[in-house]
């Protein structure tokens, strides 16, 4: 009985030692090799619909923001090798009318931040796609990239929609792949 108890103690000690080193190694991997992914969204879009100039007419079919209405950045500190990532997008309505449809597209490539360690890559998202309330893939790339310009377009505006201040939050998610 006593002998058996001692074996268990020894075994637990061995497990503890190895677990401790495993954890340390994990932290090393995460903070030294992996680095931290980071993203940013800079800008907003506040738009007042242009008034109807000719009585009897409806609003225009669509309105488009500036080509660089918002800038996105995807980066990772201490990134080595190929840091592959993708952006997804969805909206979370504050006050919205479902006849209004919001679209987004990428209008530029931004700036590569790999500092000469290869050119990186960015692809997809260059055609208008609708922003839904469920998350959808937007575009992807390799290696860090900042100041990626994004443009919005709204469709479905009509005088049939009650006058009000409509608002929705555009949520971008950066995923490392």
């Amino acid at each position: 009985m006593i002998e058996k108890f001692m074996i268990i103690i020894k075994w637990k000690k061995a497990v503890f030692q190895r677990s401790f080193f495993a954890l340390i190694f994990n932290f090393y991997l995460i903070f030294s090799l992996q680095g931290q992914t980071s993203m940013s969204v800079n800008g907003n879009w506040n738009y007042t619909v242009s008034p109807v100039i000719e009585a009897g007419n409806d609003f225009s079919l669509f309105y488009t923001s500036a080509p660089d209405q918002v800038y996105l950045s995807a980066d990772k500190n201490k990134a080595k090798g190929n840091f592959k990532w993708s952006f997804s997008i969805h909206k979370e309505d504050v006050l919205w009318d479902n006849t209004m449809r919001l679209f987004v597209k990428r209008t530029g490539n931004g700036t590569n931040t790999s500092n000469g360690n290869g050119g990186g890559l960015i692809q997809g998202g260059t055609a208008f796609q609708e922003i839904n309330n469920t998350d959808n893939f937007f575009f992807s790339g390799k290696k860090g990239r900042v100041d990626i310009p994004v443009q919005y377009q709204i469709q479905g505006l009509s005088v049939l929609i009650p006058a009000d201040n409509y608002s929705t939050n555009i949520v971008y998610t950066l995923r490392e792949e």
């Binding site: 497990v15 992996q34 940013s40 969204v41 109807v52 009000d164 409509y166």
Partner: protein, 193 residues
């Protein structure tokens, strides 16, 4: 055996830790999009030719007969409008009409106007004409219950207007007709804001 088990356990811990922490490596950020739809209340008068017209009775062709007012009418004008009502501030709009101050219909005569139902080329909650009214210098409701809508533009969209110049039905009106009283009138339509 115990050593093997301990090593295996640690290896699993190492792998799981790395995988699970890497899988959490997402980042999220957001910004607002604000779209302001303003209140809209505009109207205009459209015509197939001109928005100015002349109404005059026909002279009698036989002595002893009265002026003939049957052709003293005009149906060339259409009333177009675009409206957005506020969900809380104003639920509907009204168009009223009057003769601009400073001018009056010649004595013995009356000028009437009516609007047909909307032509149906736009969309939304169109107004309802109140029917034929006799114009005066006092504004009168003409089309009521206008919601958020647009009638379409230009002529042959919206409400077709019919103007009629008639002899006043009051006794003695014919005797008040004076050919020196020919005048120009400006008819003013206003949509409530």
């Amino acid at each position: 055996m115990n050593k093997f088990f301990a090593n295996t356990f640690c290896l699993v811990l190492l792998i799981c830790g790395t995988i699970s922490l890497k899988a959490q490596d997402n980042a999220t950020d957001a910004h607002e999009v604000n779209i302001k739809i303003p209140e809209v209340a505009i109207l205009d008068i459209e015509s197939t030719s001109s928005t100015s017209f002349t109404l005059a009775p026909e002279k009698p062709t036989e002595a002893g007969l009265a002026l003939d007012f049957s052709e003293a009418k005009n149906t060339d004008l259409w009333l177009n409008y675009s409206s957005i009502v506020g969900s809380t501030t104003q639920s509907e709009r009204t168009i009223d009409v009057k003769i601009q101050d400073g001018s009056t219909v010649p004595e013995g005569l009356v000028l009437k106007v009516s609007a047909a139902a909307d032509e149906g080329n736009g969309d939304g909650e169109m107004g309802t004409p109140v029917g034929e009214i006799t114009l005066s210098n006092t504004a009168q409701d003409f089309i009521k219950g206008i919601g958020s809508c647009y009638t379409g533009s230009p002529a042959k969209n919206g409400h077709q207007l019919t103007y009629l110049l008639e002899l006043n039905s009051a006794d003695g009106s014919y005797g008040k007709i004076d050919f020196d009283e020919s005048t120009s009138l400006k008819i003013v339509y206003t949509i409530t804001e």
